[in-house]
């Protein structure tokens, strides 16, 4: 146990001596330098361990033989140790990162760095206000000087601006300190009491507080910081943005007890505003480091806000929230700044050099996900608890601002990420040199990020181990990534089936039903991925992560578990979509909408009352009366995932641009997660019907989604896009049926979900096969493939009959159930719209089968073969499934009936194969026989009496007595329903797309105009600071 | 008595401050700033703070001014390496 005073003195003495030491060689001075930095980490580490785990009491060290307030004292408690450990570790690693620089630069660089750490350590430990001033000057001055480690015009001018701003702030600080001394007779924090402060006393405290707050870079008085972030060497920036910020943040934490509540409120709001605007402006940022700068500033704002708003919470919760944000931000930020230094590209567009560099890309991804607050990283838990806390405190405005800000942050961070992976191909690919000294710290921090997440999950939450599976899957598959993809695919298939077996003893049928969709459906779809060649690095990990997350939704017990799985699902599906060749935009759209949805859900869950029972959420939710707002928010969140009208624009992009064997997962299974969620909301809703009938409107949205989706599908030229819109339309039916909130409605929703899973999987796989052979998704470029790919054709044929609802296949069952339920409910006009939608669906269904398989075969496709066997197998499994439930509808109707009966009285009677509702009846089995009969009779007749039939060549058609010229001109496929578009007139315009486009444009231009504040002129920045001080002064009402 | 001296000195200092800011000639501006510090040290003496007065005289009006002048010299000379 080394006395903490050594942390200061050793570094100081070493600093003083370094000039001399350096005379005997840089090697020696570097040894001393790194030795001292490591020693600091070691000493603090030991203290942290003792204070945290051995419950050693907080140490207070007085100086000069006198006790406080006579002398200056230092304090080392758990909080100090936490911050110090973190700061010293970062400093050490940053120093490692700067190793090459330190080897070459002037010895003063090392000295400055070492003494800077003294400043940080002193600043954190001291309890004396003026001493804080001194240490903060030590910190600032060394920082100012270190900024010039890279001597560019930019770094110098940034440094100068920084100095001026810092100078102004410290003037205020000094004034504040001395006046506080004057009015309280003390400089020691522990002896300053708010008790009988005069008005002047408050102003003094205000001066002190605002000075610290300015150092925390509040919007808009933070232009200087941004310039520094942009201009200065990555190694130093990481120290400024992380170590310095941490220290100053801690100073703010220390002075908080002497600040009056009204100041704190203002600062809290100012933090929130900073967070919001920084992230908004980040949207327009093209420069990587400046982007991180905006993010950094925003995060500090959030950190301050979280600190202020969680003051009254129990300690452990506060530690989780503030500590979570603290770690999340600072560690990730340091790592990312380091990466910018490794990549050495300013413009985000040039970052696609990363794509050839897997190790760096992985680190980049981990840190970025951590920064954006995705699970399992610390920021996620902090955000969850913070939002919950704010919502309970009814601070909705703050919640909204923070979440919107977070959304902006996710947008710009992941635009960066996606550009790095999918950026423009044209730029040259110079390999990035991975210096060990730079990679080492980055790797350590990525590791710490993960470690912290594990610790948080272990100490703060008690999760079922299943919830770790999604992450484990990624890790494990990463380890065996060298294997060929077929082996990994088979292993994944086995893993999914094992997982299914593990969760199999489910508590209820509804779980079982969705389990079949999620797990069995996925397992069959995995067969399609076995066609992959090569290694498909990373693919199966993500796939497993997604599938396990689906499953975990079913067994989630708490809201948090559910939301955790939901987020895992979002992350994995986002990354899977991103794997598509041109998926940058698509994946971004998906992520933006998903994140927005997730945030709404987060608020929704926070509004929800506590769960009373300990069973899985889908069951226990029925005992919970969700408030209206929660119902609305959760519904919107789930509807975003299921692609409802208005928020559907991510859907076609994501489905179309994902790799073709991923699309079935996205479309057939992922959308059902939204359905599952909506059903969950419905379960609570029916048990505690509120006055305002939300589901009536959800019903309308579902119905409109169905019709609009159908129309949009009809107007597509791209096969996958067509199927995507078709999914949107079909899920619209499902949503509408759920919204009916009746036995028949839910029965039909689940029936259609199951059906949709099968036919949409098969269709997407079929298209994957076609794409695999023809390398095009544009339908009019194909045609006549029936002769080349008969098996695929049959599969598509059966599936489109199933989609269309034409008897005798299972689709009709869905239609019958839906119309019956709508009429029974009294939603007549909605039923009318659905009739229309189901008519329109014929347009696109015919289009997809005709333009691909029928008509004229193109010359270039003369030699294509049938789709690979791996695509055929899953299709035919699904065909068997469809045929089975068409022939014997009871197979599915009976179990679904029992599920729905859990919530409603049964409204159907099953008698043999005849299913009757109050309105009508349907005997699927008999229909099948009759259809087979009426089909077979003419067939036999024709076969008997048409023996003279001869087959003819492709162009042998009656064509105005001429031979047609070429397949291209003869195949009617392009813009097939032009007349319909014409008929629709103004109704056919993509208004919703335009709307979101406008939203995006508008926020970007808003961001652009706000950031004009940062003129780059140092004087303007001073003006900002002074104005800021004045405005805050008058707002605080001192 | 002290008040009067402070007022008189104060007025001179304020004038010097304006001069320091507005004078086009940088050297004069620097010297005006030095004058402020010098007078400040007198005021410190009057305010019974001899330690501060000494420091201000030596550092504020002495060293600081010299550093300014050195800077000016470096810039004026123009023979800066680099």
């Amino acid at each position: 146990m080394v006395n903490p005073i050594y942390i200061l003195t050793l570094s100081l003495a070493a600093g003083f001596l370094l000039t001399l030491i350096d005379k005997s060689g840089r090697k020696l001075s570097l040894t001393v330098f790194y030795g001292i930095l490591s020693l600091n980490v070691f000493i603090i580490g030991e203290w942290f361990y003792r204070l945290t785990f051995l419950n050693t009491p907080t140490v207070i060290i007085n100086t000069a033989g006198f006790s406080a307030p006579l002398s200056i004292n230092l304090q080392l408690g758990m909080q100090e140790a936490f911050v110090l450990l973190f700061a010293n570790l970062t400093a050490l690693l940053s120093a490692v990162y700067l190793f090459k620089k330190f080897k070459e630069t002037h010895i003063s660089g090392l000295i400055l760095y070492l003494i800077m750490i003294v400043g940080v350590n002193g600043l954190v430990m001291t309890r004396d206000l003026f001493n804080m001033f001194v240490f903060s000057e030590i910190l600032s001055i060394s920082t100012y000087a270190l900024i010039t480690l890279t001597e560019t015009k930019k770094s110098l001018s940034a440094g100068f601006k920084y100095m001026i701003a810092g100078g102004i702030a410290s003037t205020f600080f000094l004034l504040g300190v001395t006046f506080i001394y004057y009015f309280t007779g003390n400089l020691n924090l522990d002896f300053i009491h708010l008790g009988n402060f005069s008005n002047l006393g408050f102003i003094s405290i205000f001066l002190l507080a605002i000075a610290v707050f300015i150092e925390l870079k509040p919007f808009p008085a933070n232009g200087w910081a941004l310039d520094v972030y942009e201009a200065v060497d990555s190694g130093i920036v990481s120290v400024i943005a992380v170590v310095n910020s941490a220290a100053i943040f801690f100073v703010f934490y220390k002075i908080m007890p002497i600040l009056p509540q009204n100041f704190l409120n203002v600062f809290g709001i100012a933090g929130v505003i900073t967070f919001f605007f920084s992230n908004l402006m980040g949207l327009k940022q093209k420069n990587a480091k400046r982007l991180l700068g905006y993010s950094s500033i925003g995060q500090i704002g959030l950190l301050v806000a979280s600190l202020i708003f969680t003051m009254h919470l129990p300690r452990s919760l506060m530690y989780l929230i503030v500590g979570g944000f603290f770690f999340n931000h600072l560690i990730a930020k340091a790592g990312l700044f380091w990466i910018t230094g490794i990549v050495k590209k300013e413009n985000l567009k040039d970052w696609n050099v990363l794509k050839n560099n897997k190790p760096l890309l992985v680190l980049f991804g981990i840190l970025l996900f951590a920064l954006a607050g995705f699970p399992p990283f610390a920021g996620f838990w902090a955000k969850w608890e913070f939002v919950k806390m704010l919502v309970h405190g009814k601070m909705f405005f703050v919640v909204g601002t923070i979440l919107l800000g977070s959304l902006f942050e996710v947008i710009f961070l992941f635009r960066w990420f996606t550009l790095s992976i999918k950026g423009d191909e044209k730029t040259e690919h110079k390999n990035i040199s991975l210096e060990l000294s730079k990679m080492f710290p980055t790797t350590i921090f990525a590791g710490i990020t993960i470690l912290i997440s594990v610790l948080i999950m272990k100490f703060f939450y008690d999760f079922n181990w299943l919830h770790a599976l999604p992450v484990l899957a990624v890790l494990i598959i990463n380890v065996i990534d060298f294997l060929p993809s077929k082996i990994k695919g088979i292993l994944s298939l086995a893993a999914v089936l094992t997982y299914g077996y593990l969760i199999y003893p489910l508590e209820s049928n509804i779980q079982l039903f969705f389990g079949i969709i999620f797990i069995i459906g996925s397992a069959i779809n995995i067969i399609g991925t076995l066609n992959r060649k090569g290694k498909s690095e990373g693919f199966y990990g993500l796939l497993l992560m997604m599938i396990f997350s689906f499953g975990n939704l079913l067994v989630a017990i708490t809201y948090l578990e559910f939301f955790l799985s939901w987020e895992f699902m979002t992350i994995s599906s986002f990354l899977l979509i991103l794997r598509g060749k041109k998926a940058q935009k698509a994946s971004m759209l998906y992520l933006i909408f998903s994140t927005a949805g997730a945030y709404l859900m987060m608020v929704g869950f926070s509004l929800a009352p506590d769960l009373v029972s300990n069973s899985v959420l889908i069951l226990s939710i029925s005992n919970v009366s969700l408030p209206i707002a929660a119902t609305i928010l959760l519904s919107i969140g789930f509807m975003i995932k299921s692609g409802s009208l208005g928020v559907h624009i991510w859907l076609p992009e994501a489905h179309a641009e994902a790799e073709s064997d991923v699309s079935p997962f996205i479309s057939a299974i992922l959308l059902k997660a939204g359905v599952f969620g909506l059903l969950m909301v419905g379960i609570s809703y029916i048990k505690h019907t509120p006055s305002f009938d939300i589901f009536y409107w959800i019903g309308w949205i579902g119905v409109l989604t169905a019709i609009v989706g159908a129309f949009l599908a009809s107007f597509q030229e791209d096969a996958k896009r067509l199927l995507a819109y078709s999914s949107m339309s079909q899920v619209g039916y499902i949503v509408a049926s759920i919204a009916i909130l009746s036995h028949l409605g839910w029965l039909s929703a689940m029936y259609l979900s199951f059906n949709h899973m099968m036919f949409k999987s098969a269709l997407f796989i079929a298209i994957a096969g076609v794409y695999y052979r023809t390398h095009t998704r544009t339908m009019y470029e194909m045609g006549g493939l029936i002769k080349k790919m008969p098996l695929s054709f049959i599969s598509v044929l059966i599936m489109i009959i199933a989609v269309s609802g034409v008897p005798p296949l299972s689709g009709f069952g869905a239609k019958w159930l839906i119309y019956s339920s709508f009429i029974e409910k009294g939603w007549y006009l909605q039923a009318g719209v659905l009739f229309f939608a189901s008519g329109v669906s014929f347009l696109y269904l015919y289009r997809i089968i005709h333009t691909i398989f029928l008509g004229q075969l193109k010359y270039e496709h003369q030699n294509v073969k049938e789709a690979p066997i791996w695509f055929i197998i899953p299709q035919y499994i699904f065909i068997i499934g469809i045929m089975a439930i068409s022939m014997f509808p009871n197979l599915i109707i009976q179990p679904l009936n029992s599920i729905a009966m859990r919530y409603f009285n049964s409204s159907i009677i099953i008698d043999g194969y005849t299913i009757s509702s109050s309105l009508g009846y349907w005997n699927g089995n008999l229909v099948m026989y009759v259809t087979m009969g009426v089909f077979v009779v003419p067939l036999i007749f024709l076969m008997l009496f048409n023996g003279r039939m001869q087959k003819v060549k492709q162009f042998n058609i009656v064509y105005a007595a001429e031979r047609p010229e070429s397949p291209q001109t003869t195949h009617v496929a392009h813009n097939m329903y032009a007349h319909y578009r014409k008929a629709l007139g103004g109704w056919g315009k993509p208004r919703i797309w335009d709307f979101w486009h406008e939203v995006s444009e508008w926020s970007h231009s808003l961001a652009d105009s706000i950031r004009q504040l940062y003129t780059g002129n140092g004087q303007t920045y001073i003006l900002h600071i002074i104005m800021y001080v004045i405005v805050i002064y008058f707002i605080s009402g001192v | 008595m002290i008040s009067i001296i402070i007022i008189v000195f104060g007025i001179i200092m304020i004038i010097a401050a304006f001069l320091a800011i507005h004078l086009k000639n940088l050297l004069s501006a620097i010297i005006s700033a030095g004058v402020i510090s010098l007078l400040a040290s007198v005021i410190y003496l009057l305010l019974a703070a001899p330690d501060v007065a000494m420091t201000e005289a030596a550092i504020g009006s002495g060293l600081t001014t010299i550093i300014f002048i050195f800077t000016l010299k470096k810039i004026k000379k123009g023979d800066l390496d680099d």
Partner: protein
Amino acid sequence: MNIWIKILYAVISVLVVTIYGLTLGGIVRKIYARVHGRYGPSVWQPFLDIIKTHGKRVSISHGYMFYLGPIFRLAGGLGTYLFIPVIFGSVVFSNFSIAGDLLLVMYFIFFGQLGMALGAGEGGHPYSPLGIARGLSQMTAFEVPFSLAVIAIAIQYNTFNLTTIVAAQQGSILNWTLFTNPLAVVAAMISLLGMNMHPPFSIVLAPQEIPIGPPIEMNSSFLATLQTNRGLFTAAKLILFMNLFFGGATNLPIMIIKTFLIYMFSVFVGASFPRFRPEQSMRFFLKWPTLIGVASIIFIAYF
């Protein structure tokens, strides 16, 4: 009931109605000719046509879907017919209506159309998909007023069961849907014009633009199959309308009279209007008839 007897009855029923439907087609052609001032073909001409086309020596197929197309078409006609109870109270003519209700019939109509569209598509002739595209589009449009009318009826009789609907209309002529729910009938009758593809809604076959449209590549037995279906399918649709709106039929003559009159309605309208362009046709159906359909629902549901 013994399933074989049921099948026997169904065969009888189908034969009767097919003959009736084809005759009806002949009569219509006669009427058209007379309206145009020609003598016109014999009333039995459809039968002759079928026998003639079936007997053609040359029979060309473009592939198995092409082969199956007409079969789908005929199966669709047969199925649609077989799921409708034709004559109220008659065992022979009750067909297989126990298999499903009105919704089944409505969706089974698509079975044949879809199959035919696919078969025609494989023919590779550009006019086929053009015609089909038009036909499908128009179908989506005229289905709207029709489905609204059907919903209105379902509300009115609180059932999709065709037999029940017919039963409810027995007793007096005033019990017919025509009188109890005239708006729905108007909407449905307008969409019937589209269904029958007579002018002004004959955009699918449109002889001058895309000669005979989808079946353009069909020949010999294939064409004969389609021609057979035309008689059967037309009759089936008329019977459906009769059941829904005009009180059904308790015996064969009444059925013949009623369906004939319903058919004459579309024939006369067709003879007196020029053809729409495709988008005009769609707009037409999505405007007034749809509004009338909505009005019928509102009227029946809320007043």
